[in-house]
């Protein structure tokens, strides 16, 4: 830094100043652009969610109805929030991983491993709840760190690096369970999945807690910015002095941690660990949630809130299909169509084609009006 300052000779100073001004202008422009874009960013996913909820209201007028019974709120909306909790948690971690330009296919398998570890620990008599939860979280963190290390230190493509754990992870979970479905009786642990606090189900609080914590950690420090920088251009951010390897490991570790929480919720929910089925294909739902939230798979900007809205859209869609009385078998088909539409809308070329079509329509109408 010092040497570069000395290098600017007095004659070059005016030029440097003007370029500085230009840079400032560009900066404010970019800031403004970012500002206006961020509004649009929130608009579409929120609009989609609102639309889905309205469709539900149209089908079932008591959809928004909430009742308070036995110190707990009941209603379809609470159900949606509660059921989307595992995917929402995974989506928080996945957002960070995708923001670094990666992807984590292993989160479903990590959920299974954590579920198996917790269920087997709970079989030990008089084990403290804190120990079990801590063990689960540590396993998740470790699994995530392994993924991160493979990606950053060995330079393995994220899809492949996490595919390893996706394939082997379920095997490990079955190994821990010895191929059985391990069930347990533990009120304290079960509360993670079916308990309640201040009238709301526990999973909702866990998501809110994780969201607030991550948001504080990412946006009140430079960490979030670093993650986005690494995702935009890992090499350039390394030249800026960002330790891109540590940032990537951090993102995958958080994804592992989120998977651990989701795994514990799912395990507590059924009071048992089913290594074959817990979290099966949830990694795809989580990736989808992030993509619906408007993040690009190529990395860069992320928004945790938008990813959670994405998770809510997925769950609301599933609920809508049930409420509408359509057979559940249409679930996948409708989901696929929604994904395709969202994907196409994200493509600039498709939007241009669409607006071209739209303009053409208006143009033709105007022409027709002239003739009249």
């Amino acid at each position: 830094m010092k040497s570069s300052a000395e290098m600017i000779s007095p004659e070059a100073l005016p030029m440097a100043q003007s370029s500085q001004q230009a840079m400032n202008k560009e900066k404010t422009d970019r800031y403004q652009a970012g500002k206006s874009a961020s509004f649009g960013r929130y608009l579409w996913p929120l609009l989609a969610l609102t639309l889905l909820l309205l469709v539900n209201l149209f089908i079932d007028s008591s959809f928004f109805h909430l009742t308070y019974q036995d110190d707990r709120l009941y209603g379809s909306l609470i159900d949606i929030l509660n059921r989307s909790a595992p995917v929402a948690l995974l989506a928080i971690g996945m957002s960070l991983v995708i923001a670094t330009g990666g992807i984590d296919l292993s989160v479903g398998a990590v959920m299974a491993i954590v579920g198996a570890v917790c269920a087997n620990l709970l079989l030990i008599p008089d084990i403290s709840l804190v120990t079990v939860i801590l063990a689960g979280l540590i396993v998740g963190l470790a699994a995530g760190s392994i993924n991160g290390a493979l990606v950053s230190f060995l330079g393995i493509q994220p899809i492949v690096a996490t595919l390893l754990l996706m394939v082997a992870g379920r095997g490990v979970a079955q190994l821990i369970n010895q191929g059985q479905i391990i069930t347990f009786q533990h009120e304290g642990f079960a509360a993670i999945g079916v308990g309640q606090f201040l009238g709301l189900p526990m999973p909702i609080w866990i998501v809110v807690g994780m969201l607030l914590l991550s948001q504080l950690l990412l946006r009140k420090t430079a960490l979030g910015l670093f993650i986005e920088a690494v995702g935009c251009n890992a090499k350039a951010s390394r030249y800026l002095g960002i330790n891109d390897k540590s940032i990537k490991i951090f993102a995958y570790a958080i994804a592992g941690l989120c998977a651990a929480l989701a795994g514990m919720i799912s395990t507590a929910d059924i009071q048992g660990s089913d290594a074959n089925n817990i979290g099966l294909w949830l990694e795809l739902d989580a990736i989808l949630a992030v993509v619906i939230g408007g993040a690009a798979l190529t990395g860069g900007r992320f928004s945790l809130v938008l990813s959670i809205i994405g998770a809510l859209i997925i769950q609301t869609l599933a609920t809508t299909i049930i409420v509408s009385g359509l057979p559940a078998k249409f679930n996948l088909l409708i989901k696929a169509i929604v994904i395709l539409s969202v994907l196409l809308l994200q493509s600039e070329k498709f939007r241009r084609q669409l607006s071209g079509l739209f303009k053409l329509g208006i143009f033709n109408n105007a022409k027709a009006g002239d003739k009249k």
Partner: protein
């Protein structure tokens, strides 16, 4: 250069041989033609799928939809035969072009809208599975004289082994695909696309045509695998063949194909499927080892091959 290109292939082949020898030394009856032909028979649908996946991965893409396409093809075939009383051959004549069209559509979306293959084929995976469950959620048994005839049709080999029609279909397509990849312009284009899409385009490779053809071919092979799967199970099931895409990708990686594209061999993939199959056979023969060890061992194998590829590539800075 030439030798280095073949190193992963040699390693996979040696591992396959070593696994087979270990099995033969430990268990009576492991080293038999029957075990070998059973490898073909049990893995025919995966082998056919993996052929297509190899092409896609060499071109630098990925196809997550193949498992669902297998299920869709199986369900459609069995519904046409059992409910609409079509002749199986008529059903195949409709299903195969439809499957190919499905892949061509994914390829078109990937190319025209510059979307990532991963997410487009993920959507394709949901779409195909969704269509399959919409057609029928139950497993549909196929009871047709043609299927009985196919089941009886096989080339007997010594040692009570026999190559059935599925294995023969695989062998036929293996020869076709391997020839196309190494002796045709299309094959060269696929390698060029995976090596560097930009340079390939500048050299005059039609990116659009190649990309669309690759995904169409992959879906065609997956559809064919779905039909072969109905020969194997005598039924079509919308929730079947889950996770086949992962097995296929694993086989491709174990077979030494670079996931970044540009390098790999169809033969390697076939060896990869056989290696996974031999491990499975070993675990079955052993009887005390549980099936989950298969997953763990395949995970470790994948790790081994990925690190190996890294080391091999590390020597060549131009590819770093």
């Amino acid at each position: 250069m030439m030798a280095q290109r073949f190193i992963p292939l040699w390693i996979t082949a040696s591992l396959l041989l070593v696994m087979f020898l270990i099995g033969s030394a430990q268990f009576e009856g492991f080293a038999s033609i029957r075990v070998v032909t059973n490898l073909f028979r049990d893995n025919a649908f995966l082998l056919i799928t993996a052929l297509g996946m190899t092409l896609v991965i060499i071109s630098g893409g990925i196809d997550l939809s193949v498992g669902s396409v297998i299920a869709l093809s199986g369900v459609l075939t069995s519904v046409l035969i059992t409910e609409y009383h079509w002749h199986p051959l008529q059903a195949f004549a409709l299903v195969l072009p439809l499957g190919t069209l499905f892949g061509a559509m994914m390829g078109t979306i990937i190319h025209v809208y510059k979307l990532q293959p991963f997410i487009v084929t993920l959507a394709g995976m949901f779409l195909a599975r969704g269509m399959a469950t919409t057609i029928s959620e139950e497993s549909i048994a196929i009871d047709h004289p043609f299927y009985d005839a196919i089941a009886d049709l096989s080339i007997a080999l010594p040692g009570s082994g026999s190559l059935d029609i599925s294995s023969l279909i695989f062998i036929l397509f293996f020869i076709i695909i391997a020839t196309v990849m190494h002796y045709s312009r299309f094959g060269t284009n696929v390698y060029a696309l995976g090596g560097n899409a930009q340079s390939a385009e500048l050299m005059g490779v039609s990116i659009a045509k190649t990309t669309i053809s690759i995904y169409a071919l992959s879906s065609f092979l997956a559809t064919l695998a779905g039909i072969v799967f109905t020969f194997y199970t005598f039924s079509g099931y919308a929730l079947g063949a889950v996770g086949v895409e992962l097995d296929a990708i694993a086989a491709v990686v174990i077979g030494g194909t670079l996931l970044t594209g540009g390098r790999g061999f169809v033969l390697g993939t076939v060896l990869g499927v056989f290696l996974m199959g031999v491990i499975q056979t070993y675990i079955t023969f052993d009887g005390t080892l549980s099936s989950w060890w298969t997953k763990i061992v395949i995970g470790l194998l994948l790790f081994f091959f990925i690190v190996l590829q890294k080391l091999l590539n590390g020597r060549k800075p131009s590819h770093g």
